[in-house]
Symmetry: C2
Subunit: 295 residues, 2 copies
């Protein structure tokens, strides 16, 4: 928390963004810039990223951009929740210095000829059920990195596959930025914070608690020597007991390669494993995960 809350400047054009950053860099040549890329409708998860960036860098840029290229044709682009006023308040409270809120035309003055795609790391989990999603993520993140040229960029581990994809992208393209993955933030009930939680009816929200409740048992099950396939089956069974739950995937994969783990192999408590799931409650698709071993 900062002693004085000065509202961060909002810029909507690339030219203004670059001018502000140039100004900061001239004034503080050794200063570090942190970037928190978001699609807005900020919650406490985003606030935790901004706070972390503000504590580690001299200047924090929050970007708010609902990127059409990462939505499929049947997905919720048009109804994705937006609330600029709240976003500005959250950003101010958490310590952002600048908010970059470009229009779609500013980010994509024409349909790009360029596609960035990643193999391997995008083939399972959300990559399998949302074709093209990570191409959209890769291009917008590359653009934002090139626009802001941050020293560090902050991403929440709720989208663990997104973090793995971006880490591969940074490595493959030698992008001069440090990726800082940050822990999932949950409601007291256990529900992972998501801008999409606003879509849930009270009944759906109640039943969605099964996701975190089940994931919280995973460390204990792994301790007891469970195999990958059995772990996945046990999670599915627990979730299926909720009548409104419609499972899209439950996967147990190696991290960060996100490749399959042999079905009958006993999971060691020490090897990096991601247990990730996507489940629909009504029209709302929720994701959650646990990364082992836990920090």
């Amino acid at each position: 928390m900062r002693a004085t809350l000065s509202a961060p400047t909002v810029v909507r054009t690339i030219a203004e963004l670059r001018a502000r950053l140039d100004e900061y860099r001239k004034q503080a040549p050794a200063g570090k810039v942190g970037l928190v890329p978001t699609m807005g409708y900020l919650h406490e998860g985003h606030a935790s990223l901004i706070r972390r960036s503000a504590s580690e860098n001299g200047f924090t840029v929050l970007s708010v951009f609902v990127n059409p290229l990462q939505f499929g044709p049947t997905e919720d682009l048009d109804r994705y929740p937006r609330d600029e006023e709240r976003d500005r308040a959250v950003a101010a409270e958490a310590g952002a210095d600048l908010i970059f809120m470009p229009s779609v035309a500013e980010m994509y003055p024409k349909r790009p000829l360029t596609t960035i795609s990643l193999s391997g790391v995008t083939e399972r989990l959300c990559g399998a059920s949302r074709p093209g999603h990570f191409d959209g993520v890769a291009i917008v993140v590359t653009k934002l990195f090139n626009l802001v040229q941050p020293n560090r960029a902050y991403f929440g581990l709720k989208d663990a596959q997104q973090v793995a994809v971006i880490q591969s992208l940074v490595e493959d393209l030698n992008l001069p930025v440090e990726i800082v993955p940050c822990p999932i933030v949950r409601e007291a009930s256990g529900l992972a914070l998501s801008s999409r939680n606003v879509y849930l009816s009270p009944e759906e929200k109640e039943q969605a608690l099964v996701l975190s409740r089940t994931l919280m048992q995973v460390p204990e099950w792994v301790q007891s020597g469970i195999a990958a396939a059995e772990l996945s089956r046990r999670i599915r069974d627990a979730i299926s007991r909720q009548p409104l739950a419609d499972i899209e995937y439950v996967e147990v994969v190696d991290y960060p390669s996100l490749t399959a783990i042999e079905e009958n192999k006993e999971l060691a408590a020490t090897s990096p494993v991601l247990v990730a799931l996507a489940v629909r409650f009504g029209k709302t698709r929720l994701i959650d995960n646990i990364l082992l071993p836990q920090a």
Copy 2:
């Protein structure tokens, strides 16, 4: 030409490259960095790029890297000519400050998961006959831009399609670099300089003069109101008279979109048109072009 020829430092690792650039930037915070990306075996065409960069920037990086990802399986990767000593001499004479000569393992410690591909601009000309070539160009150029973070990068217009591809890439990804296209450098005979000219037998080299000789007539033909298809036919006819010439393509396209021009449309002397060709003499594939209107 510089008064004093101090030999440029050669670095082979990314860490050394970044350290040298940091040093320069600390010492000259407002200094500009120019990058000349090459595959080595430098000739006067490359030297002209280095000289231009040295005249426009405080620090010029020459990269020498034969990028395996831009060669097809049946192409000349293994026999691509190399001569490090000569490259160092040319770089020194032309005014480079630093030569980055990484190994393949330094640039690609593992097979990248990331692919960068461009539609439209890569579909004709060399893109049609060298599948995957421009994906390889796009990834290596993006990596070099991210490693060097140059203010300007210099490319020869002999590879006019490469220039168009890189300009699209820079625009689509908001890469913070200015692309400076530079004119083709020719021997007194008219032959466009190319590292691959070294492969030509004396007879092949003699016959290859037809390429520049024919392209030099293009402005006059366009002045006289020729249509695209007729222009292409006339160039093919001229080249085919050389018994060793094996035409891969002769194309008349819009620039820089590199899209087709209506066959029967009379070419205006003012609209940007690229007349480009690839022709084999023996085992050697040569490219050449003319861009209209001429500067």
